[in-house]
Protein backbone atom coordinates (compact mmCIF):
# COMPACT_ATOMS: atom_id res chain seq x y z
CA UNK A 1 0.00 0.00 0.00
CA UNK A 2 1.39 3.35 -1.07
CA UNK A 3 1.42 5.90 1.76
CA UNK A 4 1.31 9.36 0.17
CA UNK A 5 1.31 11.47 3.30
CA UNK A 6 1.13 10.99 7.02
CA UNK A 7 0.46 13.06 10.09
CA UNK A 8 3.04 13.32 12.85
CA UNK A 9 0.90 12.99 15.95
CA UNK A 10 1.20 10.02 18.26
CA UNK A 11 -1.89 7.86 18.56
CA UNK A 12 -3.23 5.67 21.29
CA UNK A 13 -3.73 2.47 19.36
CA UNK A 14 -4.83 -1.01 20.36
CA UNK A 15 -4.47 -3.95 18.00
CA UNK A 16 -8.01 -5.23 17.31
CA UNK A 17 -7.01 -8.70 18.58
CA UNK A 18 -5.71 -7.24 21.81
CA UNK A 19 -8.99 -5.42 22.25
CA UNK A 20 -10.93 -8.62 21.58
CA UNK A 21 -8.78 -10.37 24.17
CA UNK A 22 -9.57 -7.60 26.68
CA UNK A 23 -13.28 -8.03 26.03
CA UNK A 24 -13.00 -11.79 26.37
CA UNK A 25 -11.29 -11.62 29.73
CA UNK A 26 -12.68 -8.46 31.32
CA UNK A 27 -16.23 -7.79 30.15
CA UNK A 28 -18.89 -9.76 32.00
CA UNK A 29 -21.59 -11.35 29.88
CA UNK A 30 -23.81 -12.41 32.76
CA UNK A 31 -26.18 -9.77 34.07
CA UNK A 32 -24.93 -8.54 37.43
CA UNK A 33 -25.91 -5.43 39.28
CA UNK A 34 -23.27 -2.77 38.77
CA UNK A 35 -24.46 0.09 40.89
CA UNK A 36 -21.52 1.98 42.36
CA UNK A 37 -21.01 5.42 43.85
CA UNK A 38 -19.19 7.91 41.65
CA UNK A 39 -16.22 7.61 44.00
CA UNK A 40 -16.10 3.81 43.71
CA UNK A 41 -16.63 3.82 39.94
CA UNK A 42 -13.81 6.28 39.27
CA UNK A 43 -11.50 4.60 41.80
CA UNK A 44 -12.06 1.23 40.16
CA UNK A 45 -12.27 2.10 36.48
CA UNK A 46 -10.25 5.26 35.81
CA UNK A 47 -6.48 4.85 36.10
CA UNK A 48 -3.60 7.28 35.68
CA UNK A 49 -2.52 7.35 32.05
CA UNK A 50 -5.91 6.27 30.69
CA UNK A 51 -7.37 7.52 27.42
CA UNK A 52 -10.69 9.17 28.28
CA UNK A 53 -13.72 9.82 26.05
CA UNK A 54 -17.20 11.11 26.85
CA UNK A 55 -20.61 11.88 25.35
CA UNK A 56 -22.44 14.31 24.76
CA UNK A 57 -21.42 17.95 25.17
CA UNK A 58 -20.51 20.27 28.01
CA UNK A 59 -23.90 21.91 27.79
CA UNK A 60 -26.08 18.91 27.07
CA UNK A 61 -26.04 15.57 28.89
CA UNK A 62 -22.31 15.64 29.58
CA UNK A 63 -20.92 13.44 32.38
CA UNK A 64 -19.96 16.48 34.42
CA UNK A 65 -20.31 14.88 37.86
CA UNK A 66 -18.02 12.01 36.82
CA UNK A 67 -15.47 14.46 35.40
CA UNK A 68 -15.53 16.35 38.71
CA UNK A 69 -14.97 13.06 40.55
CA UNK A 70 -11.94 12.29 38.35
CA UNK A 71 -10.56 15.70 39.25
CA UNK A 72 -11.34 15.13 42.93
CA UNK A 73 -9.41 11.85 42.84
CA UNK A 74 -6.53 13.65 41.12
CA UNK A 75 -5.96 11.27 38.26
CA UNK A 76 -2.83 12.05 36.28
CA UNK A 77 -1.58 11.87 32.68
CA UNK A 78 -4.98 11.28 31.12
CA UNK A 79 -5.21 11.54 27.33
CA UNK A 80 -8.54 13.22 26.61
CA UNK A 81 -10.72 12.98 23.52
CA UNK A 82 -12.09 16.52 23.24
CA UNK A 83 -15.14 15.90 21.15
CA UNK A 84 -17.72 18.64 21.40
CA UNK A 85 -16.11 19.98 24.51
CA UNK A 86 -16.44 23.44 25.99
CA UNK A 87 -14.86 23.28 29.41
CA UNK A 88 -13.95 19.72 30.49
CA UNK A 89 -10.50 20.07 28.93
CA UNK A 90 -9.90 23.32 30.81
CA UNK A 91 -10.94 21.83 34.14
CA UNK A 92 -8.98 18.59 33.65
CA UNK A 93 -5.89 20.50 32.49
CA UNK A 94 -6.21 23.07 35.26
CA UNK A 95 -6.40 20.25 37.80
CA UNK A 96 -3.29 18.63 36.34
CA UNK A 97 -5.24 15.51 35.36
CA UNK A 98 -4.55 15.52 31.65
CA UNK A 99 -1.42 16.08 29.62
CA UNK A 100 -2.60 15.29 26.11
CA UNK A 101 -5.74 16.20 24.18
CA UNK A 102 -7.00 14.84 20.87
CA UNK A 103 -8.75 17.88 19.47
CA UNK A 104 -12.03 17.76 17.77
CA UNK A 105 -13.06 21.00 19.45
CA UNK A 106 -10.41 21.97 22.02
CA UNK A 107 -12.66 23.95 24.31
CA UNK A 108 -13.82 27.47 24.83
CA UNK A 109 -12.64 30.39 26.92
CA UNK A 110 -9.14 31.71 27.51
CA UNK A 111 -7.76 29.15 29.92
CA UNK A 112 -7.36 26.11 27.70
CA UNK A 113 -5.94 28.10 24.76
CA UNK A 114 -3.32 29.60 27.05
CA UNK A 115 -2.46 26.20 28.54
CA UNK A 116 -1.75 24.92 25.01
CA UNK A 117 0.34 27.98 24.09
CA UNK A 118 2.40 27.61 27.25
CA UNK A 119 2.95 23.92 26.62
CA UNK A 120 1.18 22.82 29.81
CA UNK A 121 -0.82 20.36 27.76
CA UNK A 122 0.02 18.77 24.40
CA UNK A 123 -2.52 18.57 21.62
CA UNK A 124 -3.05 16.38 18.57
CA UNK A 125 -5.25 17.69 15.79
CA UNK A 126 -8.27 15.77 14.56
CA UNK A 127 -11.83 16.80 13.73
CA UNK A 128 -15.14 15.98 15.38
CA UNK A 129 -16.12 13.77 12.47
CA UNK A 130 -12.82 11.92 12.19
CA UNK A 131 -12.80 11.15 15.92
CA UNK A 132 -16.32 9.74 15.53
CA UNK A 133 -15.11 7.56 12.64
CA UNK A 134 -12.09 6.46 14.71
CA UNK A 135 -14.54 5.42 17.42
CA UNK A 136 -16.61 3.54 14.82
CA UNK A 137 -13.48 1.70 13.65
CA UNK A 138 -12.75 0.80 17.28
CA UNK A 139 -16.30 -0.48 17.60
CA UNK A 140 -16.12 -2.47 14.36
CA UNK A 141 -12.95 -4.26 15.43
CA UNK A 142 -11.00 -2.99 12.41
CA UNK A 143 -7.65 -1.17 12.56
CA UNK A 144 -8.75 1.86 10.53
CA UNK A 145 -11.44 3.33 8.34
CA UNK A 146 -11.10 5.59 5.30
CA UNK A 147 -12.54 9.11 5.19
CA UNK A 148 -12.63 11.71 2.43
CA UNK A 149 -11.77 14.67 4.58
CA UNK A 150 -8.79 15.90 6.62
CA UNK A 151 -7.14 15.99 3.16
CA UNK A 152 -5.20 19.07 2.01
CA UNK A 153 -4.91 20.57 5.49
CA UNK A 154 -2.44 21.17 8.31
CA UNK A 155 -4.99 19.42 10.50
CA UNK A 156 -3.97 16.20 8.74
CA UNK A 157 -0.26 16.89 9.23
CA UNK A 158 -0.76 17.34 12.99
CA UNK A 159 -2.98 14.27 13.28
CA UNK A 160 -2.10 10.60 13.26
CA UNK A 161 -3.92 9.94 9.96
CA UNK A 162 -2.30 8.60 6.79
CA UNK A 163 -3.17 9.29 3.16
CA UNK A 164 -2.86 6.32 0.82
CA UNK A 165 -3.73 5.64 -2.79
CA UNK A 166 -7.08 3.90 -2.65
CA UNK A 167 -6.82 0.53 -4.43
CA UNK A 168 -10.40 0.80 -5.70
CA UNK A 169 -10.56 4.31 -7.18
CA UNK A 170 -6.88 5.07 -7.55
CA UNK A 171 -7.49 8.40 -5.76
CA UNK A 172 -5.89 9.53 -2.51
CA UNK A 173 -7.95 8.65 0.55
CA UNK A 174 -7.36 9.34 4.22
CA UNK A 175 -7.14 6.52 6.76
CA UNK A 176 -7.93 7.19 10.39
CA UNK A 177 -6.81 4.68 13.01
CA UNK A 178 -9.28 2.91 15.27
CA UNK A 179 -9.77 4.47 18.67
CA UNK A 180 -10.34 2.16 21.62
CA UNK A 181 -10.51 4.45 24.66
CA UNK A 182 -9.53 3.05 28.02
CA UNK A 183 -12.55 4.72 29.59
CA UNK A 184 -15.82 5.99 28.20
CA UNK A 185 -18.07 8.12 30.39
CA UNK A 186 -21.69 8.53 29.38
CA UNK A 187 -24.48 10.34 31.20
CA UNK A 188 -27.92 9.02 30.27
CA UNK A 189 -31.57 9.60 31.03
CA UNK A 190 -32.33 6.11 32.28
CA UNK A 191 -30.47 2.91 33.08
CA UNK A 192 -31.20 -0.29 34.96
CA UNK A 193 -28.85 -1.72 37.55
CA UNK A 194 -27.23 -4.06 35.02
CA UNK A 195 -26.25 -1.18 32.74
CA UNK A 196 -28.89 -1.23 30.01
CA UNK A 197 -29.03 2.46 29.19
CA UNK A 198 -31.36 4.81 27.38
CA UNK A 199 -30.50 8.16 25.89
CA UNK A 200 -33.35 10.32 24.66
CA UNK A 201 -32.49 12.79 21.93
CA UNK A 202 -29.34 12.70 19.83
CA UNK A 203 -25.90 11.51 20.78
CA UNK A 204 -22.42 11.84 19.31
CA UNK A 205 -21.17 8.27 19.34
CA UNK A 206 -22.52 6.75 22.54
CA UNK A 207 -22.92 3.22 21.18
CA UNK A 208 -19.71 3.33 19.12
CA UNK A 209 -17.68 4.52 22.12
CA UNK A 210 -19.35 2.12 24.57
CA UNK A 211 -18.49 -0.74 22.18
CA UNK A 212 -14.96 0.50 21.52
CA UNK A 213 -13.94 1.34 25.10
CA UNK A 214 -12.26 -1.01 27.53
CA UNK A 215 -14.14 0.39 30.52
CA UNK A 216 -17.56 2.05 30.43
CA UNK A 217 -19.07 4.09 33.25
CA UNK A 218 -22.70 5.07 32.79
CA UNK A 219 -24.12 7.73 35.06
CA UNK A 220 -27.85 8.13 34.99
CA UNK A 221 -30.54 10.58 35.98
CA UNK A 222 -32.92 7.75 36.77
CA UNK A 223 -32.71 4.04 37.61
CA UNK A 224 -35.42 1.96 35.95
CA UNK A 225 -36.59 -1.63 36.31
CA UNK A 226 -34.89 -4.11 33.93
CA UNK A 227 -38.35 -5.26 32.82
CA UNK A 228 -38.97 -1.84 31.28
CA UNK A 229 -36.01 -2.30 28.96
CA UNK A 230 -37.55 -5.40 27.35
CA UNK A 231 -40.92 -3.68 26.94
CA UNK A 232 -39.40 -1.13 24.57
CA UNK A 233 -36.11 -2.50 23.22
CA UNK A 234 -35.84 0.08 20.44
CA UNK A 235 -35.16 2.56 23.23
CA UNK A 236 -31.99 0.79 24.41
CA UNK A 237 -29.01 2.92 23.46
CA UNK A 238 -26.38 0.78 25.21
CA UNK A 239 -26.89 -2.88 26.22
CA UNK A 240 -25.69 -3.96 29.68
CA UNK A 241 -22.80 -6.20 28.62
CA UNK A 242 -20.82 -3.17 27.38
CA UNK A 243 -21.13 -1.43 30.73
CA UNK A 244 -18.87 -1.83 33.78
CA UNK A 245 -20.45 0.55 36.26
CA UNK A 246 -23.78 2.28 36.76
CA UNK A 247 -23.80 5.41 38.89
CA UNK A 248 -27.04 7.04 39.97
CA UNK A 249 -26.33 10.76 39.55
CA UNK A 250 -29.38 13.00 39.28
CA UNK A 251 -28.26 16.38 37.92
CA UNK A 252 -25.09 14.61 36.81
CA UNK A 253 -24.80 16.89 33.76
CA UNK A 254 -24.89 20.13 35.82
CA UNK A 255 -23.98 22.90 34.92
CA UNK A 256 -25.10 21.51 31.55
CA UNK A 257 -28.66 20.35 31.06
CA UNK A 258 -30.37 17.07 30.31
CA UNK A 259 -33.13 17.40 27.70
CA UNK A 260 -36.62 17.18 29.16
CA UNK A 261 -35.19 17.00 32.71
CA UNK A 262 -33.46 20.31 33.47
CA UNK A 263 -32.00 23.20 31.51
CA UNK A 264 -28.37 24.27 31.54
CA UNK A 265 -27.18 26.87 34.07
CA UNK A 266 -25.77 29.49 31.72
CA UNK A 267 -24.59 31.67 34.60
CA UNK A 268 -22.40 28.92 36.03
CA UNK A 269 -21.16 27.96 32.55
CA UNK A 270 -20.18 31.57 31.87
CA UNK A 271 -18.24 31.54 35.13
CA UNK A 272 -16.26 28.46 34.02
CA UNK A 273 -15.62 29.82 30.54
CA UNK A 274 -14.50 33.17 31.96
CA UNK A 275 -11.57 31.55 33.80
CA UNK A 276 -8.40 32.97 32.25
CA UNK A 277 -5.51 32.36 34.61
CA UNK A 278 -4.35 29.66 36.94
CA UNK A 279 -5.26 31.51 40.12
CA UNK A 280 -8.89 31.74 39.02
CA UNK A 281 -8.81 28.10 37.91
CA UNK A 282 -7.43 26.84 41.22
CA UNK A 283 -9.99 28.95 43.12
CA UNK A 284 -12.80 27.41 41.06
CA UNK A 285 -11.51 23.85 41.51
CA UNK A 286 -11.12 24.39 45.25
CA UNK A 287 -14.56 25.84 45.71
CA UNK A 288 -16.59 23.52 43.50
CA UNK A 289 -14.65 20.26 43.40
CA UNK A 290 -11.91 19.71 45.98
CA UNK A 291 -13.86 21.55 48.65
CA UNK A 292 -16.85 19.19 48.48
CA UNK A 293 -16.64 15.45 49.10
CA UNK A 294 -19.13 14.32 46.46
CA UNK A 295 -21.79 15.26 43.90
CA UNK A 296 -24.62 15.29 46.43
CA UNK A 297 -22.81 17.75 48.66
CA UNK A 298 -21.87 19.82 45.60
CA UNK A 299 -25.55 20.11 44.65
CA UNK A 300 -26.62 20.88 48.21
CA UNK A 301 -23.99 23.44 49.12
CA UNK A 302 -22.81 24.91 45.83
CA UNK A 303 -25.95 24.91 43.71
CA UNK A 304 -28.94 24.63 46.01
CA UNK A 305 -32.37 23.14 45.58
CA UNK A 306 -33.92 26.49 44.65
CA UNK A 307 -31.64 26.85 41.67
CA UNK A 308 -32.11 23.24 40.60
CA UNK A 309 -35.88 23.64 40.76
CA UNK A 310 -35.63 26.69 38.52
CA UNK A 311 -33.63 24.65 35.98
CA UNK A 312 -36.27 21.91 36.08
CA UNK A 313 -39.01 24.51 35.55
CA UNK A 314 -37.24 25.78 32.45
CA UNK A 315 -37.11 22.33 30.85
CA UNK A 316 -40.53 22.64 29.30
CA UNK A 317 -39.75 20.92 25.99
CA UNK A 318 -40.71 17.30 26.58
CA UNK A 319 -41.90 15.95 23.25
CA UNK A 320 -39.70 13.30 21.71
CA UNK A 321 -37.82 12.57 24.93
CA UNK A 322 -39.49 9.39 26.05
Amino acid sequence: MEVLLEGRAPIRFTHPDDFREWVRTHKRREPVEKLLSAREAVARYVADGDYLAYDFSSLTRGPQALVREIIRQRRRELWVCAEFTLHETALLTGAGCCDRIDVGFLGYGGYIGRAVSEGRVRVCEWTNGSLAVRMLAGARGVPFLPVRNLLATDTLLQSGAKVIRDPFTGDPVCLVPALNPDVFLCHVHQADLFGNARIFGTNLFALEAATAAKKVIVSTEEIIDPGEIRQDPARTTIPYFLVDAVVHLPFGAYPGGVPARYELDLEHIDRVNAIQDDAAMQAYLEEYIYGVPDHETFLERKVGWGRLKALIRRATVREGYH
Binding site: L59, F105, S117, W126, T127, N128, R148, T153, V317
Partner: protein, 267 residues
Amino acid sequence: MATVEFTDTEFMICAAARLLEDGKTVFVGWGMPQVVTILAERLYTPHLVQVFEFGAVGPRSLTPFVRGTMGGPTNIYRSLQWTTMNWAFSYAATGYIDYGMIGALQVDPYGNINSTLLGGTYEHPARRFPGSGGGNEVASLCWKTIIVLKHEPRRFVEKLDFVTSPGYGDGNGSRERAGLPRGTGPWRVVTSKALFGFDGETKRMRLLAVLRGLRPEEILEGMGFEVKPAGSLEEMPPPGEEELRLLREEIDPSGIIIRGEKMRAVR
Protein backbone atom coordinates in the same frame (compact mmCIF):
# COMPACT_ATOMS: atom_id res chain seq x y z
CA MET B 1 -34.65 58.95 2.52
CA ALA B 2 -35.08 56.76 5.57
CA THR B 3 -31.95 55.38 7.11
CA VAL B 4 -31.78 52.24 9.18
CA GLU B 5 -29.45 51.57 12.09
CA PHE B 6 -28.05 48.13 12.73
CA THR B 7 -24.91 46.38 13.91
CA ASP B 8 -22.36 44.86 11.54
CA THR B 9 -23.23 41.48 13.06
CA GLU B 10 -26.90 41.92 12.24
CA PHE B 11 -26.00 42.72 8.65
CA MET B 12 -23.74 39.67 8.39
CA ILE B 13 -26.46 37.36 9.72
CA CYS B 14 -29.09 38.82 7.38
CA ALA B 15 -26.76 38.70 4.35
CA ALA B 16 -25.90 35.05 5.00
CA ALA B 17 -29.56 34.11 5.54
CA ARG B 18 -30.48 35.63 2.16
CA LEU B 19 -28.12 33.20 0.41
CA LEU B 20 -29.92 30.04 1.44
CA GLU B 21 -32.46 28.36 -0.85
CA ASP B 22 -35.71 26.75 0.15
CA GLY B 23 -36.09 23.03 -0.34
CA LYS B 24 -32.37 22.44 0.07
CA THR B 25 -30.17 21.06 2.81
CA VAL B 26 -27.56 22.87 4.88
CA PHE B 27 -24.97 21.62 7.34
CA VAL B 28 -24.87 24.15 10.14
CA GLY B 29 -21.73 24.99 12.11
CA TRP B 30 -21.55 26.09 15.75
CA GLY B 31 -22.38 29.68 16.69
CA MET B 32 -23.26 32.33 14.14
CA PRO B 33 -24.41 29.88 11.43
CA GLN B 34 -27.06 28.58 13.85
CA VAL B 35 -28.54 32.07 14.15
CA VAL B 36 -28.35 32.58 10.37
CA THR B 37 -30.30 29.42 9.59
CA ILE B 38 -32.97 30.17 12.20
CA LEU B 39 -33.51 33.58 10.56
CA ALA B 40 -33.58 32.00 7.08
CA GLU B 41 -36.06 29.36 8.21
CA ARG B 42 -38.41 32.01 9.62
CA LEU B 43 -38.20 34.35 6.65
CA TYR B 44 -37.29 32.63 3.42
CA THR B 45 -36.74 28.92 3.61
CA PRO B 46 -39.44 27.05 5.54
CA HIS B 47 -38.40 23.82 3.85
CA LEU B 48 -34.68 24.13 4.40
CA VAL B 49 -33.38 21.00 6.13
CA GLN B 50 -30.77 21.97 8.69
CA VAL B 51 -28.34 19.22 9.61
CA PHE B 52 -26.19 19.39 12.74
CA GLU B 53 -23.10 17.36 13.50
CA PHE B 54 -24.47 16.16 16.82
CA GLY B 55 -27.17 14.24 15.02
CA ALA B 56 -30.17 16.56 14.60
CA VAL B 57 -31.72 16.60 11.14
CA GLY B 58 -34.28 19.20 10.08
CA PRO B 59 -35.26 20.86 13.37
CA ARG B 60 -37.66 23.77 13.64
CA SER B 61 -35.71 25.62 16.28
CA LEU B 62 -37.47 27.36 19.11
CA THR B 63 -36.48 30.89 19.94
CA PRO B 64 -34.88 32.65 21.74
CA PHE B 65 -31.68 30.95 20.67
CA VAL B 66 -29.79 29.65 23.71
CA ARG B 67 -26.30 31.11 23.42
CA GLY B 68 -23.50 28.56 23.13
CA THR B 69 -25.79 25.58 22.91
CA MET B 70 -25.80 22.82 20.35
CA GLY B 71 -28.04 19.85 20.92
CA GLY B 72 -30.24 21.42 23.55
CA PRO B 73 -33.98 20.73 23.35
CA THR B 74 -34.86 24.16 21.94
CA ASN B 75 -32.55 23.98 18.94
CA ILE B 76 -33.40 20.41 17.98
CA TYR B 77 -37.15 20.92 18.44
CA ARG B 78 -39.45 19.07 16.01
CA SER B 79 -36.64 17.53 13.97
CA LEU B 80 -37.18 15.03 11.18
CA GLN B 81 -34.64 12.71 12.74
CA TRP B 82 -32.48 12.44 15.81
CA THR B 83 -29.41 10.37 15.08
CA THR B 84 -25.65 10.42 15.74
CA MET B 85 -22.57 12.19 14.44
CA ASN B 86 -21.46 9.40 12.14
CA TRP B 87 -24.85 9.46 10.39
CA ALA B 88 -25.07 13.25 10.24
CA PHE B 89 -21.72 13.38 8.44
CA SER B 90 -22.73 10.42 6.24
CA TYR B 91 -25.37 12.63 4.66
CA ALA B 92 -22.64 15.14 3.78
CA ALA B 93 -20.20 12.44 2.63
CA THR B 94 -22.72 10.96 0.20
CA GLY B 95 -23.65 14.28 -1.40
CA TYR B 96 -27.02 14.99 0.23
CA ILE B 97 -25.97 18.31 1.73
CA ASP B 98 -26.20 21.30 -0.61
CA TYR B 99 -24.72 23.96 1.63
CA GLY B 100 -22.33 24.04 4.54
CA MET B 101 -22.09 27.12 6.71
CA ILE B 102 -19.15 27.69 9.03
CA GLY B 103 -17.19 30.49 10.68
CA ALA B 104 -13.46 31.20 10.35
CA LEU B 105 -10.63 32.91 12.15
CA GLN B 106 -8.65 33.55 8.95
CA VAL B 107 -9.35 32.89 5.31
CA ASP B 108 -6.96 32.93 2.33
CA PRO B 109 -7.54 33.83 -1.37
CA TYR B 110 -8.66 30.27 -2.16
CA GLY B 111 -11.11 30.02 0.72
CA ASN B 112 -8.91 27.79 2.86
CA ILE B 113 -9.86 28.26 6.50
CA ASN B 114 -7.96 28.62 9.74
CA SER B 115 -9.80 28.11 13.00
CA THR B 116 -6.95 26.57 14.99
CA LEU B 117 -4.24 29.08 15.93
CA LEU B 118 -2.61 32.46 15.32
CA GLY B 119 1.14 33.02 15.34
CA GLY B 120 3.96 30.97 16.84
CA THR B 121 4.35 27.29 16.07
CA TYR B 122 1.88 24.44 16.27
CA GLU B 123 3.38 23.32 19.59
CA HIS B 124 3.54 26.85 20.99
CA PRO B 125 1.03 29.04 19.20
CA ALA B 126 0.79 32.69 20.15
CA ARG B 127 -2.95 32.15 20.44
CA ARG B 128 -4.77 28.86 20.33
CA PHE B 129 -8.43 28.49 19.33
CA PRO B 130 -10.89 25.57 19.40
CA GLY B 131 -9.77 24.02 16.08
CA SER B 132 -11.83 22.21 13.48
CA GLY B 133 -14.79 20.97 15.44
CA GLY B 134 -16.82 19.60 12.56
CA GLY B 135 -15.74 22.43 10.26
CA ASN B 136 -13.27 20.29 8.34
CA GLU B 137 -15.99 17.78 7.47
CA VAL B 138 -18.38 20.55 6.44
CA ALA B 139 -15.80 22.31 4.22
CA SER B 140 -14.69 18.99 2.70
CA LEU B 141 -17.96 17.20 2.07
CA CYS B 142 -20.83 19.67 1.44
CA TRP B 143 -21.39 20.87 -2.13
CA LYS B 144 -21.16 24.61 -1.48
CA THR B 145 -19.50 26.02 1.59
CA ILE B 146 -20.51 29.44 2.91
CA ILE B 147 -17.95 31.04 5.21
CA VAL B 148 -19.25 33.65 7.64
CA LEU B 149 -16.84 36.01 9.38
CA LYS B 150 -16.52 39.57 10.68
CA HIS B 151 -15.06 41.98 8.16
CA GLU B 152 -11.66 42.54 9.69
CA PRO B 153 -9.00 42.92 6.99
CA ARG B 154 -6.40 41.12 9.15
CA ARG B 155 -8.49 37.96 8.88
CA PHE B 156 -7.90 37.90 5.09
CA VAL B 157 -4.34 36.68 4.62
CA GLU B 158 -2.26 35.41 1.70
CA LYS B 159 -0.98 32.54 3.81
CA LEU B 160 -2.89 31.07 6.73
CA ASP B 161 -1.15 30.47 10.05
CA PHE B 162 -2.72 26.99 9.94
CA VAL B 163 -4.94 25.29 7.35
CA THR B 164 -7.73 23.78 9.42
CA SER B 165 -10.30 23.16 6.68
CA PRO B 166 -9.84 23.04 2.93
CA GLY B 167 -10.89 25.63 0.39
CA TYR B 168 -9.53 25.40 -3.13
CA GLY B 169 -6.01 24.57 -1.90
CA ASP B 170 -3.66 26.50 -4.16
CA GLY B 171 -6.09 26.82 -7.05
CA ASN B 172 -8.24 24.97 -9.54
CA GLY B 173 -8.05 21.18 -9.35
CA SER B 174 -6.23 21.12 -6.01
CA ARG B 175 -9.15 19.70 -4.07
CA GLU B 176 -9.66 16.81 -6.47
CA ARG B 177 -5.92 16.08 -6.59
CA ALA B 178 -5.88 15.83 -2.82
CA GLY B 179 -8.73 13.32 -2.89
CA LEU B 180 -11.56 15.59 -1.75
CA PRO B 181 -14.99 14.93 -3.27
CA ARG B 182 -15.33 16.26 -6.83
CA GLY B 183 -17.26 19.48 -7.41
CA THR B 184 -17.22 20.71 -3.83
CA GLY B 185 -15.66 23.83 -2.34
CA PRO B 186 -16.18 27.28 -0.91
CA TRP B 187 -18.94 29.19 -2.64
CA ARG B 188 -19.45 32.44 -0.75
CA VAL B 189 -17.69 34.40 1.96
CA VAL B 190 -20.13 36.60 3.84
CA THR B 191 -18.66 39.34 5.99
CA SER B 192 -20.15 42.12 8.06
CA LYS B 193 -19.71 44.49 5.11
CA ALA B 194 -19.57 42.55 1.86
CA LEU B 195 -20.05 39.36 -0.08
CA PHE B 196 -17.30 37.44 -1.89
CA GLY B 197 -17.35 34.54 -4.33
CA PHE B 198 -14.69 32.57 -6.20
CA ASP B 199 -13.55 32.85 -9.81
CA GLY B 200 -14.66 29.85 -11.84
CA GLU B 201 -11.24 29.41 -13.44
CA THR B 202 -8.62 30.55 -10.96
CA LYS B 203 -10.73 29.78 -7.84
CA ARG B 204 -9.44 32.99 -6.29
CA MET B 205 -11.72 35.07 -4.15
CA ARG B 206 -13.46 38.01 -5.79
CA LEU B 207 -15.74 40.73 -4.50
CA LEU B 208 -19.37 40.26 -5.53
CA ALA B 209 -21.30 42.85 -3.56
CA VAL B 210 -20.95 45.50 -0.88
CA LEU B 211 -23.26 46.96 1.71
CA ARG B 212 -25.14 50.00 0.36
CA GLY B 213 -23.20 53.19 1.01
CA LEU B 214 -19.76 51.56 1.21
CA ARG B 215 -17.18 51.84 -1.56
CA PRO B 216 -15.36 48.72 -2.79
CA GLU B 217 -12.01 50.35 -1.98
CA GLU B 218 -13.03 50.64 1.68
CA ILE B 219 -13.84 46.94 1.72
CA LEU B 220 -10.65 45.79 0.06
CA GLU B 221 -8.31 48.12 1.91
CA GLY B 222 -5.97 46.29 4.25
CA MET B 223 -6.89 42.82 3.04
CA GLY B 224 -3.80 40.64 2.86
CA PHE B 225 -4.24 39.72 -0.80
CA GLU B 226 -5.50 41.22 -4.00
CA VAL B 227 -9.21 40.76 -4.62
CA LYS B 228 -10.70 41.66 -7.97
CA PRO B 229 -14.23 43.04 -7.97
CA ALA B 230 -16.70 41.14 -10.15
CA GLY B 231 -17.63 42.80 -13.45
CA SER B 232 -21.01 43.89 -12.16
CA LEU B 233 -20.58 44.69 -8.52
CA GLU B 234 -23.85 44.54 -6.65
CA GLU B 235 -25.18 46.60 -3.80
CA MET B 236 -26.48 44.84 -0.71
CA PRO B 237 -29.44 46.46 1.02
CA PRO B 238 -29.23 46.87 4.81
CA PRO B 239 -31.30 44.61 7.06
CA GLY B 240 -35.03 45.15 6.66
CA GLU B 241 -37.53 45.80 9.41
CA GLU B 242 -38.74 42.22 9.65
CA GLU B 243 -35.21 40.79 9.71
CA LEU B 244 -34.25 43.13 12.54
CA ARG B 245 -37.46 42.51 14.45
CA LEU B 246 -36.94 38.75 14.33
CA LEU B 247 -33.31 39.03 15.38
CA ARG B 248 -33.90 41.53 18.18
CA GLU B 249 -37.23 40.38 19.55
CA GLU B 250 -37.37 36.65 18.90
CA ILE B 251 -33.99 35.11 18.17
CA ASP B 252 -31.65 37.08 20.43
CA PRO B 253 -33.62 39.33 22.80
CA SER B 254 -30.61 39.41 25.14
CA GLY B 255 -28.70 41.20 22.35
CA ILE B 256 -25.50 39.33 23.17
CA ILE B 257 -25.11 37.55 19.83
CA ILE B 258 -26.17 40.39 17.54
CA ARG B 259 -24.18 43.16 19.19
CA GLY B 260 -21.39 44.77 17.19
CA GLU B 261 -20.18 47.89 15.49
CA LYS B 262 -23.00 50.39 14.88
CA MET B 263 -23.75 51.03 11.23
CA ARG B 264 -26.35 52.93 9.24
CA ALA B 265 -27.49 52.81 5.65
CA VAL B 266 -30.27 54.06 3.44
CA ARG B 267 -33.14 51.63 3.42
